[in-house]
Symmetry: C2
Amino acid sequence: MRVGIVGGGQLGRMLALAGYPLGLRFRCLEPYEDAPMAHLADLELGAYDDAEALLRFARRIDVATYEFENVHVASARQLEAHVPVFPPPIALEVAQDRLCEKTTFRELGIPVPAFAAVDSREALDAALATIGAPAVLKTRRFGYDGKGQFVIARPEDADAAWAALGGAPLILEAFVEFRRELSVLAVRGRGGEVAFYPLVENRHRDGILRVSRAPAPDITPELQALAERYATAVLERLGYVGVLAIEFFEARDDEGGVRLLANEMAPRVHNSGHWTIEGAETSQFENHLRAILGLPLGPTTPRGHSVMLNVIGTAPDIARIAAVPGAHLHLYGKEPRPGRKLGHVTVRADSAAAARAAADRVLPLLEG
Amino acid sequence: MRVGIVGGGQLGRMLALAGYPLGLRFRCLEPYEDAPMAHLADLELGAYDDAEALLRFARRIDVATYEFENVHVASARQLEAHVPVFPPPIALEVAQDRLCEKTTFRELGIPVPAFAAVDSREALDAALATIGAPAVLKTRRFGYDGKGQFVIARPEDADAAWAALGGAPLILEAFVEFRRELSVLAVRGRGGEVAFYPLVENRHRDGILRVSRAPAPDITPELQALAERYATAVLERLGYVGVLAIEFFEARDDEGGVRLLANEMAPRVHNSGHWTIEGAETSQFENHLRAILGLPLGPTTPRGHSVMLNVIGTAPDIARIAAVPGAHLHLYGKEPRPGRKLGHVTVRADSAAAARAAADRVLPLLEG
């Protein structure tokens, strides 16, 4: 079975590494010869939206998926005329537009921060009047890793925010006082069966994910069930197949309880699920492949406790990381560049305390 | 860092899969374009002993290793003139000749079955007179998976044995009444540090490994320590770097205790260590790479209990295997052929009983 992946980055690379043991072959559609996945899979050289390249690509694969969510929907639909494409292109459409995404969450009864579309300077004032400050002005499309966002602390910041982002379709979202960010990794098979990994706690810096802890500490069964109920609603609404990540803000409700506000979703394997390679019985990568191939899903049971730390910007000292027991290094074959995700390290241990202690040894090694 | 592997079979494939996360690149010297490793690494097309191909290969790698033990020693030494080669070629030399291997074990104080060199029909009679029947006549070189062996049940079988194997240099070994076969996977780093996986219990059929259980049941700390002492002696004698497997017969000693008789060794990653991919904190493949690169060795601690089952001859029903919780499929990308190792399945569980129960579900799926 030949799996085609649109995009040749680290997510594609880890999909291929998980899929070779299943006897699969991989081909990526990718404009750069030295992309992380190109080292270890067949390469269809071409832009992601090049109709001719897409056609060549489609002819040499049996099923298609993608490893980033900004694949043009038209390109995904072009592929769909030739081979099954999972997740379904509708999931791209929803995830690519924050307004559409938030609206979908709300329609499904999933709480979200207050939001409003902003298409003009006047609309920004109107939205601010309704939502209040602080709030976050975001581009509706093509934002990632904190890019395309402006925090409006006070109404007077509106001009600066508009200067920074005005022109593109925007959305204003209420700034949520949240305790932490949690994400759920869900997977749905071709037959409709679903599985969930335990909630993960994520810490960002400069808009980029730095550390994930899995399973997240202090999660009640009720909160896990709530996240799974929300994810199920999205999976079913979209007729989804594959791994889906949803990021939540964990916040207090009026009675002092805990609630989840959906922030965004990613219709693909996700950075906050990298810990599953060592930390779960079946990795998110293998389960994504199982799902799109129509195979039974694998157990999502965690194996002990994991902390995942991203390697950002600077090439790490491999020997010093390898010297930390339980530290598992994953480099993506990318040249160092400031702010670039070059790899990650997962430390796995049988107790949360041991995992945290090992992570505390690894963290200084990643500070460059 | 570019790692060169002589041979492009499944062991090379699993080395590459373990090594990409460390940021390594792989090139294999291999005469077949569709070899298991060729799908996912750079290929230097050529015979293993083609001097020109070896030179081209050596120029494009930083360190060399091999994934089968019948690499010509002269070829390994040719590579050594250009790049570091691990394990050292002397290990090939010893492992390629059963007489040399057994003699080395004996010199190091490691018990072995009685043996004698057999270079003529008369020498066979003389050896049989000393060692007695039953005994096993084996070719000294290039035997594997039970090939090149003839069991001499009674002295009258000598003619048939000679007819089958005579002409090549041979060795006669006493037939050992053993309880089971155990193997130890040892690894030694470039700085001389050593680590050991727990003893594994192996079951063969038709001379081919079928099932490994790890950790092997009913192993006393004394027996584990004994195996490690034996392995250490071999590692140090050979100045070894990388993973070494030694197969032992577990037999009764005269006082009713347990003893280990060394059967053979493999100077490479080994089929009885495949369980370490899921079943140990660091796989044998990653530890082999760590060793030859001079990185600290990773923990060899088992994660629960594993049973590894080889997939032989017939392509398995992937979906049915995937439906067994905790079953991890590894296919090697090879065409089915009777007696051919096509892959393996490792079932991992938190208890030995659960691992065995899952293995009992997988085994019938592999009977073709």
